[in-house]
């Protein structure tokens, strides 16, 4: 408990220092609880998530950093490795490949990388996974882009169907 708190405090200081270095990630600690964090990440360019801003919720266990944080999308996203309803993320480093060498910040970077490189063979969102696996790249991209516009764009009013 004490160890996890100390570690999170170091991460907090590091985040303050790195703010400028990583403009795609805005990681914020809950005012009253250092075990709760949220992050805003920018959808990577040249992906259907480009232009969107996605919110992540972090719940950090007491055994952190020996155990991984629990992370999920709060913003709706259409992606093979993100559960469409719960926002749960299928990413090895959040499960059995976790190590204390990762940080909340680098987890955000890994999630951005996952957005750009979906793994359709281990899908949490089978509809999305099946589109990619069947080679329907356009179908996947248009669905993903639609949800990015619906849910992840700062101004929702400009929704356009083409």
């Amino acid at each position: 408990m004490q160890a996890s708190r100390a570690r999170l405090f170091k991460e907090y200081k590091e985040v303050q220092r790195e703010k400028v270095a990583d403009p795609d990630i805005q990681l914020v600690c809950d005012d009253s609880n250092i075990f709760k964090w949220t992050a805003l990440i920018k959808g990577p360019s040249e992906t259907p998530y480009d232009g969107g801003v996605f919110q992540l919720a972090f719940s950090v266990p007491e055994q952190y950093p020996l155990q991984p944080p629990q992370v999920r999308f709060l913003t709706k996203i259409f992606h093979p490795n993100v559960h469409f309803k719960t926002g749960e993320i299928c990413l090895d480093i959040l499960k059995n490949a976790w190590s204390p060498a990762w940080t909340l910040q680098s987890v955000c970077r890994a999630i951005i990388a996952l957005m750009a490189h979906p793994e359709p063979d281990s899908p949490l969102n089978c509809d999305s996974g099946n589109l990619l696996r069947s080679g329907d790249i356009r179908g996947y991209q248009s669905m993903a882009r639609m949800y990015t516009r619906l849910a992840a764009m700062p101004k929702k009013g400009e929704l356009v169907f083409r």
Partner: protein
């Protein structure tokens, strides 16, 4: 796993959301987190059966275990008994090599009070810290683990305020908040050494898995619970400059069917190349003796 293969997705429509909701309700609630939780519950149950580090037992307890087992193993245990007096078991949680090394090393220092060795390994640890920094690891991600190991090292030396007894060392090795941190410290050290000398380790890594050295470190060295192989042992021994003897207890025997117990000494690379003289005595007889049975390491005590 069920999936929604039945659904034909027409891009651009919004219908999937609503139809999916009711159908997947029951299993949608069963998430990866639940699986992880169930897994750790099983682990916790197993944990109750054997501590991270067990009590010292006479080697006869090992013989009893194989009483009606494979005759080659029974014979090998007989041979072992000539050289070794006791065994200390560790929990088979994937960390057994590192955990065995931790206890065997700290116990050795506690019993020998070898300050020169402590100074030597402390210098190596400092070198490992620099290695990790040069590899791009953020210091705050590993410094707590380093500090905790150095603390344990300090505490097994007598005459300091922090000095501990042998009983206390056993207790600490069973205390997850200390034991796991030291194991993780060794994982960092091992990973740093492998990545620093990735050209040397690459063929060995290739022999184990099909991945790059970096990927191997990320998936098979750094995560807790990942089992150790000769690559890990070589790297840890090299990085810390501590020779390790692994005694193999398996069913192998030669053509004539005569039985001998093989062992392999991992001698730190630095000892072989430079100042061979100072290491010569050390290299000849490693003070860390581990018993390897396929898939598991325990600590052995020579007579």
């Amino acid at each position: 796993m069920q999936n929604q293969d039945g659904h034909v997705v027409e891009s651009g429509t919004e219908t999937i959301t609503s139809t999916k909701a009711s159908e997947i309700e029951d299993w949608a609630n069963f998430r990866d987190d639940d699986i992880l939780q169930q897994q750790s519950a099983i682990q916790a149950e197993e944990a109750g059966k054997i501590p991270f580090v067990g009590d010292k037992e006479p080697l006869s307890s090992l013989a009893a275990e194989y009483k009606s087992g494979n005759p080659i193993l029974v014979e090998k245990i007989n041979v072992l008994t000539e050289q070794y007096a006791a065994i200390r078991r560790t929990r088979g949680d994937g960390n057994c090599f590192f955990r065995s090394f931790m206890f065997a090393y700290l116990e050795h220092i506690l019993q020998t009070q070898d300050r020169a060795e402590v100074d030597r390994i402390t210098a190596n640890v400092e070198q490992c810290r620099k290695t990790l920094l040069s590899l791009g690891y953020a210091e705050f991600t590993f410094e707590d683990f380093f500090a905790l190991f150095l603390e344990q090292l300090e505490s097994v030396l007598s005459g300091t305020e922090a000095s501990i007894s042998h009983d206390e060392l056993v207790q600490r090795s069973r205390d997850q908040s200390i034991s796991d941190y030291v194991v993780m410290f060794f994982r960092f050290i091992t990973s740093g050494e492998i990545r620093k000398r990735s050209e040397f380790f690459e063929p060995f890594v290739q022999g184990l898995t099909n991945t790059s050295v970096e990927q191997f470190c990320k998936s098979s060295v750094e995560p807790m619970g990942e089992e150790s192989d000769h690559v890990h042992i070589t790297a840890l021994s090299d990085a810390l400059g501590v020779p390790i003897r692994i005694v193999y207890l398996d069913r192998s025997c030669d053509d004539k069917g005569s039985v001998s117990v093989n062992h392999h000494d991992f001698t730190p690379a630095a000892c072989q190349v430079t100042n061979a003289n100072s290491c010569a005595t050390q290299a000849a007889k490693p003070f860390i003796n581990l018993l390897y049975r396929p898939g598991h390491y325990d600590i052995l005590y020579p007579k």
